[in-house]
Amino acid sequence: MTVTTNLEGEKLTVALRGRLDTLTSRDLETELESLLANPDIKVLVIDMKELEYISSAGLRVMLDAARTMEDKGEMIVTNLCSEVMDVFSITGFSEVFTIR
């Protein structure tokens, strides 16, 4: 999986490309932890435009990030393909995350 980040003022955009599974979610977790340690970040945008696959391990990383952002500002998940959106829907995560 490829992770591309872009920080503009207080908004951090993290674009995910490829597969977020048990193996790759570990790297993303480490990367997000270090990125979100920046106290200036108030908005986290997770761009899933090029994300093809997500399993429960990926949802766990999203949940941790959302909880971290709850105290700092907000997290927005965006550009989900229909297959990835379906995973969010059946697990009820579409209701707890802000999806645009």
């Binding site: 599974d21 048990t22 399993s55 297959e83 707890v96």
Partner: protein, 135 residues
């Protein structure tokens, strides 16, 4: 029936996914079904890798069996670890709020949602889990 025998470790996951998806590809199924099967495969295999042998090491066998007439297949996971029936696992609360959310059990929950049927038996010291899906 085709099968693969791997070490029940997380780093065997790509091998198991390739085995299942390559066989599925021959059948030509939709993106949606492919992803559902891939999720089920990952969730069940990762569970075995994490928990079946606790601190020890062991093997896992994955079999795939197509029923061409009925256009469905069975995906069978076998390990010789501690007995565990995923059908008896607690169902996560998918309506819980952000702060109350737990991820435990979500993998099995998704597997049950995405596959048509799931059967478990413990026989001759083996956990045998069979997933059925029509394509």
């Amino acid at each position: 029936m085709k099968e693969i025998n791997v070490k029940a470790r997380i780093d065997s996951l790509p091998q198991v996914i390739s085995f299942v998806m390559d066989n599925l590809e021959e059948w030509g199924c939709s993106m949606k079904i492919s992803m559902q099967v891939e999720i089920a495969t990952e969730e069940i295999f990762v569970n075995i890798a994490h928990y079946a042998y606790e601190e020890g090491e062991g093997d896992a066998v994955v079999k795939i069996d197509f029923d061409e007439e009925a256009r469905k297949f069975a995906l069978i996971f076998i390990d010789r670890g501690i007995p565990f029936n995923p059908l008896e696992a607690d169902t996560p609360d998918v309506n819980a709020s952000l702060s109350e959310r737990k991820v435990g059990g979500l993998g099995i929950f998704m597997t049950r949602k995405y596959m048509d049927d799931m059967q478990y038996e413990y026989r001759d010291g083996q956990n045998i889990l069979t997933l059925i899906k029509s394509i």
